[in-house]
């Protein structure tokens, strides 16, 4: 299984997915996460992301191994922005490649669920009413 996990400072760091395509992968499922406004009725001005990079890579490796044990997949890609991100901009691009679409869809969904619940990335929302740290887990 091929993997590519990166924390990136700007939108130029998002992956060129062409390099992961192959004749054996009949399915490519891509999730693009975008900063949304409004959120809970307030206009979002921007988000600030920070990450613990060494742990991020170890956690993503663990997540990829878990995906690989449950689904027939060929490649897993995930690039996540850190720093200042504006509404309408991409935050995360996740892609999964497999022979058939079912495995690719399910593995991509699991990849994003795991990312949101365990990857060491923190987000602070700045909105028209102030700012707060977004909490998902633990």
């Amino acid at each position: 299984m091929k993997t590519d996990f990166q924390l990136i400072d700007d939108a130029k760091g998002f992956p060129d997915l062409e390099q992961f395509r192959s004749s054996t992968s009949g399915a490519e499922v891509v999730f693009n996460g975008i900063v949304r406004t409004p959120n809970k009725g307030l206009d979002v001005l921007y988000l600030e992301f920070e990450a613990y990079e060494a742990l991020f890579h170890n956690e993503m490796k663990r997540i990829a191994e878990s995906l690989n044990s449950q689904y027939q997949i060929h490649s897993v890609v995930l690039h996540h922005r850190i720093g200042h991100v504006l509404p309408g901009e991409l935050v995360v691009v996740a892609a999964v490649y497999s022979a058939h679409r079912k495995d690719a869809f399910q593995a991509c969904e699991m990849l994003m669920n795991e990312l949101k619940s365990t990857a060491p990335i923190w987000k602070k929302e700045f909105n028209s009413d102030g700012s707060f740290w977004v909490s998902q887990t633990p």
């Binding site: 613990y52 742990l55 990312l115 060491p120 990335i121 923190w122 740290w133 998902q136």
Partner: protein, 79 residues
């Protein structure tokens, strides 16, 4: 003796990149380190967090030594 702890997210914003907590001796469990941190930073008692040791997730019963890298992780929110 003192043990340095690395912080992230709202903990980092509140206290800086690292804090030192006093511990009796090494090895010591993660549970005891967390207890020492909460004792000296009582205003975070309502914040749940996880712990990483040497860049891997750890559990409360794991033991750490003087040179281990310890990080406190407040609730994550990637994506």
């Amino acid at each position: 003796m003192m043990k340095e702890i690395h912080l992230f997210g709202l903990l980092k914003e509140k206290y800086g990149d690292t804090v030192c907590v006093e511990v009796p001796a090494f090895p010591i469990t993660i549970e005891e380190i967390v207890k020492a941190f909460r004792k000296s930073h009582s205003e975070v008692n309502d914040i749940p967090f996880l712990i990483a040791v040497n860049h891997f997730m750890a559990s409360e019963k794991d033991a750490v030594n003087e040179n281990d890298h310890i990080a406190l992780l407040p609730p994550v929110s990637g994506g």
